[in-house]
Subunit: 245 residues, 2 copies
């Protein structure tokens, strides 16, 4: 995950303890620790503190009366917003691009990422403290996200790494059965189909061809071929028992 970045996650006037808790949990999931709350609803903050797993983040969380104080030590301030069409006075970036700007800045200096209240988002006053704004690419018809989910998505995007190995645990395709194993399977299957009445006792050459192709399309793994041959033999044995009784 790399070293502790100097990102401050700032929740402005949060009201719902579950959202404060969810923000802290997402921070813990993605390795961010500096949570700052501006003018939180005190009951909500107390409830959140007692509820969640990511308590070390909430215990360290700093509370400020004003946004100015909460961002005082930051040299880049980015606000999140769902409103694409407001009369904005700073650039509005899609999250994908804003995260690149933030990551570049965090490499050398502290930055703040602001989230507004659940009901109203960031006010125009809050936005006047921002150098730029970001928007999660939600549908225009339903742009407003749940606060805890919005925080989680932004932090995920900051941790996202397209260059990381794609698979944490991958299997090479299993080695395929040899032609000999596949043919033994085919012969047993043909016998089984004839004995069970699926085909006539004396199968036509074209039927045999169809079945052979059918078996080849299965891509039987080498490691499984003995198991399959055993299964077919057992069924054949059972069918023969039935014929004798």
């Amino acid at each position: 995950m790399g070293s502790e970045p100097s990102l401050r996650v700032v929740l402005v006037s949060p009201r719902n303890p579950l959202n404060i808790g969810a923000a802290a949990r997402a921070m813990s999931n993605f390795g961010f620790t500096q949570l700052r709350l501006v003018n939180p609803y005190q009951v909500a903050f107390r409830e959140a503190r007692s509820a969640v797993k990511a308590h070390y983040i909430l215990e360290q969380a700093q509370v400020f009366e004003t946004l100015s104080e909460a961002i005082a030590d930051c040299t880049l301030v980015v606000g999140s917003t769902a409103a694409a069409n407001r009369d904005l006075h700073v650039p509005l970036y899609r999250l994908e691009a804003a995260a690149t700007i933030l990551t570049g800045h965090l490499a050398h200096s502290p930055a703040a990422l602001l989230f507004g209240s659940e009901k109203f988002g960031l006010s125009n006053g809050d936005m006047s403290h921002c150098h730029s704004l970001l928007r999660i690419p939600t549908r225009e018809e339903h742009g407003s996200m749940n606060l805890g989910q919005a925080v989680a998505i932004c932090l995920y995007e900051l941790r996202r790494n397209a260059a990381a190995p794609a698979a944490e645990h991958r299997f090479p395709p299993p080695p395929a059965a040899s032609a000999e194993q596949t043919e033994r399977f085919t012969v047993l299957l043909l016998d089984l189909l004839a004995r069970s009445g699926y085909t006539h006792e004396r199968t036509s050459e074209s039927t045999e061809l169809k079945i052979r192709r059918l078996v080849r399309r299965l891509s039987l793994p080498a490691a499984d071929s003995e198991t399959w041959l055993g299964i077919l033999r057992q069924i054949l044995w059972k069918l023969r028992q039935g014929d004798q009784s």
Copy 2:
């Protein structure tokens, strides 16, 4: 957002109405509509239905008794898991890569994305229905995410588009003030500094040089230069008033 994709979001044994609601809300945010629930805690489902904004998704949601039935029409089944070290029998991809596989498949065929219960995640039985698994790149020390946040992040990643225009609303850097405007500003400032006692009445050449450089580092926008000159003149006028009284 493109046309309706054939992704089925499948919640297996969800227990918390807030999480079901949060999953539905994230689906609405990112333009997915097909929610399927396997064996949900019925009270939770009823509560979620009455609570959230994204009610059209919950109204259309299908409920199944078994996972087999819920994924019957899907040709790719991907499960989400936080457990990196379990004894897995299918490939485990990072979300970034799994989303690419899912998007490719969804271009022509339906696929299911599975999320397990809040407490236990997907069982080994659930995972035996999966062609592959995905993991959101959380910290190893705290890998387990809130269900609603995990759904939101996965759907965001499916909608993510690094090729989209970075800025929805961008400003070109403001045209800079001309050398003449900047110099008028400098001259007024020098006067002000002298009159206010910040510098001696007769400033040395080196002080003038320092102030001139100080002003150039401001990169004064052309559109603001008259405002700034007005401000300086007003302060100068006030200072002169004081001197006369």
